[in-house]
């Protein structure tokens, strides 16, 4: 394994930046943007208020302005920044893993049905929540939508793997085509539900499908924390095996990689990451597709750099887009999906035209 990685990437490493440097630079970028995300908001409360806010949170400060500082800094901006970081890291990691598994620069988590499944569950919650599904939805309260979206995505993907697996073998080609079929089926049911919805539900649907972090809360941060921890441990175990997949599945098998386990683990890990991200922030496109490409342009195709690097860069990008989303039309707010594509697409196009499609030539 080590020999494979070292020989394959030895040539590139001469001209590529050192792995350590890339991670240090990306971590710095993420830290700087995260601090700004805490310091910037439509209320104009700056980080100078942080000590007061912390004192208020601990119960030492008198009521009044400190209480407002606490609310904005600690209850609104902090969970928002943390959730943005999680969503960006999860989506970018998932995109990088999908591109590695399918060996296709256009692969994104949509291919394994997770987005369509999550969207179907969310649409069903919004449209049926007032009528047929009312007992379940009222039981879960404001958590009905995130819970439904998460399990909708995960169940769809697990079902897809069960469909695509023949005699214990998960064929990538079958997975891809079955994924398209399942995705189309789920989307058509979503479409039917959207057709049956009233104008208010339709508005909610549209807003959800453009993504937003404005509903961030500490409860949501706690809810995604287990996923963040699980992904931090799981994903690095897959990066070496995915390097093997760069050569092709048969070659990876000959290199002694347990390809069957790798495929299933990658698919389920991706579905979990995307499901959790969609649950807390709605549909946020672009990050999963583009961030891994930017990482490859920076560091070359080594998944040991691309995947963790994508997590850092994705987190930084989504936090930055969220700052723009909440500041651009204040006191109102833009859906973050619009901001990401608007800012990101031209930058990405510039990179591609200037540098070529890194790693896929």
């Amino acid at each position: 394994m080590t020999t494979l990685d070292e020989t394959r990437f030895a040539a590139q490493s001469a001209v590529r930046p050192k792995r350590g440097n890339v991670f240090i630079a990306l971590s710095l970028l993420l830290a700087v943007i995260a601090v700004f995300s805490l310091a910037i908001g439509p209320t104009g409360i700056s980080l100078q208020a942080l000590p007061r806010a912390i004192a208020a949170a601990l119960g030492y400060a008198p009521e009044g302005t400190a209480e407002r500082d606490r609310l904005v800094l600690i209850d609104l901006r902090m969970p928002r920044t943390l959730l943005a970081a999680f969503v960006g890291a999860a989506l970018a990691t998932a995109g990088a893993m999908m591109q590695g598994l399918f060996r296709n620069p256009l692969a994104d988590p949509g291919l394994i049905g997770v987005s369509a499944g999550a969207a179907l569950a969310a649409v069903a919650t919004i449209v049926l929540g007032n009528t047929v599904g009312a007992p379940i939805v009222s039981l879960l309260g404001i958590y009905a939508l995130p819970v439904a979206a998460f399990f909708g995505g995960l169940i769809t993907t697990i079902g897809l793997v069960a469909i695509a697996a023949r005699r214990g073998q998960l064929a990538i080609g079958t997975l891809l085509l079955a994924g398209i079929a399942v995705g189309a089926f789920a989307s058509s049911i979503s479409g039917f539900l959207a057709y049956a919805s009233d104008d208010r539900e339709l508005r909610d649907l549209t807003l959800w499908s453009m993504g937003s972090l404005s509903g961030a809360s500490w409860q949501k941060v706690l809810a995604v924390l287990p996923f963040a921890i699980a992904l931090t441990f799981l994903v690095p175990r897959l990066t070496r095996a995915l390097n093997g997949f760069l050569l092709g599945e048969a070659e990876a098998l000959h290199l002694g990689i347990d390809t069957e386990r790798t495929k299933r683990l990658t698919v389920v890990t991706t579905a979990t990451a995307v499901g959790a991200a969609v649950a807390v922030a709605g549909v946020i496109g672009f990050v999963g597709l583009v961030v891994p490409h930017v990482m490859r342009l920076i560091s070359g195709p080594d998944n040991r750099v691309v995947i963790p690097g994508s997590a850092l860069l994705g987190a930084a990008l989504v936090i930055f887009a969220d700052i723009v989303a909440r500041m651009a039309v204040r006191p109102a707010e833009l859906p973050i999906g619009i901001v990401l594509a608007l800012v990101g697409a031209p930058v990405f196009l510039h990179l591609v035209l200037k540098r070529g499609v890194g790693g896929w030539e």
Binding site: P17, S46, V72, R77, D198, F320, R326, P331
Partner: protein, 300 residues
């Protein structure tokens, strides 16, 4: 190393952008005044507050507050009522939020309720009972009970007068309310909608009552509705082109409404908002529908 340096450069430009934002914000620091600062969310609620003479206490409104027209010009807008931003709302420094029960998203409403700002939910029932209830509730929370009671009584008496007029209608006409026409397909107001409520208040039978909610319907279904009158909605300035378009829909071209060219166009918030102007809107609609002349009528 070149790449690392480039990343550092990107980080620094992000930092510079951020600092710029901070600077602008510090300059725009606001100071809270002693008078109550009301944030009004919902077109009907803004209308009630203006009618009660409380407009000076409003600091911001949502984007559905289209009437009176200067509300959105004079006040800050915190965005669409179902896509509010918690910090955006806090940034206008309200001391009281009066919101339609339709305000959202729910997480933001929860955060605002826990912020220490008085948050009032106003229920939204499009009916002759719902409107005065709404007015009294708003009056109670802002301490203008007397004015609110007077306004509610006025609205109630207008609704009562409307009811008397409805009794004089011998043969009720059948109307279809068309919310929008997209790709040649009409979205109609079915039962359970504000459109259905205003039609009934105007003494008209909703020909599309079999549909529930606002739904796009096929031409074949429209043929079946066979309305005597078509009511459409304008957004601000009159759009005769769109109004005329409704009657050329294949599903309506053979209807009694098309034969007599009976199409009525009214302002959206006026007819569907169910604010204090609701009885007047219903009355205008009634007058326009039961007017003798079969010409196209445009109500104010």
């Amino acid at each position: 190393m070149r790449e690392a340096r480039r990343l550092l450069f990107i980080a620094l430009s992000f930092a510079a952008t951020g600092l710029g934002c901070l600077h602008v914000l510090a300059a725009a620091e606001e100071n809270a005044a002693a008078t109550p600062r009301i944030l009004s969310i919902g077109g009907d609620i803004t209308e009630i507050l203006y009618d009660l003479g409380q407009q000076d206490k409003i600091v911001a409104v949502d984007t559905t507050s289209l009437y009176p027209a200067n509300a959105l010009k004079d006040k800050k807008a915190v965005g669409y009522m179902r896509a509010l931003s918690a910090e955006g709302v806090l940034s206008v420094n309200p001391t009281m939020i009066i919101a339609s029960e339709q305000a959202g998203p729910p997480e933001v409403v929860t955060a605002l309720k826990s912020s220490g700002i008085t948050y009032v939910d106003i229920s939204d029932k499009p009916s002759a009972v719902g409107v005065p209830e709404k007015i009294r509730h708003v009056g109670r929370v802002i301490g203008a009970e007397a004015a609110a009671d007077a306004l509610a009584k006025k609205v109630e008496s207008q609704f009562a007068a409307l009811e008397t007029e409805r009794k004089h209608i011998k043969t009720p006409k059948r109307a279809v309310f068309i919310l929008a026409i997209v790709n040649g397909r009409a979205t109609v107001g079915g039962s359970g909608t504000a459109a259905d409520a205003i039609l009934r208040l105007a003494g008209v039978e909703n020909a599309a009552a079999a549909v529930s909610g606002y739904k796009p319907v096929s031409d074949e279904q429209l043929t079946e509705f066979a309305p005597d009158v078509v009511v459409t909605m304008s957004r601000g300035g009159s759009d005769q082109h769109k109004a005329a378009q409704a009657l050329t829909l294949p599903g309506l071209s053979q209807s009694p409404a098309a034969k007599t060219n009976k199409i009525i166009e009214m302002d959206g918030l006026y007819v569907l908002g169910f604010g204090p102007r609701a009885p007047a809107a219903a009355h205008d609609l009634m007058k326009a529908i039961y007017a003798e002349a079969g010409q196209a009528a445009t109500a104010p």
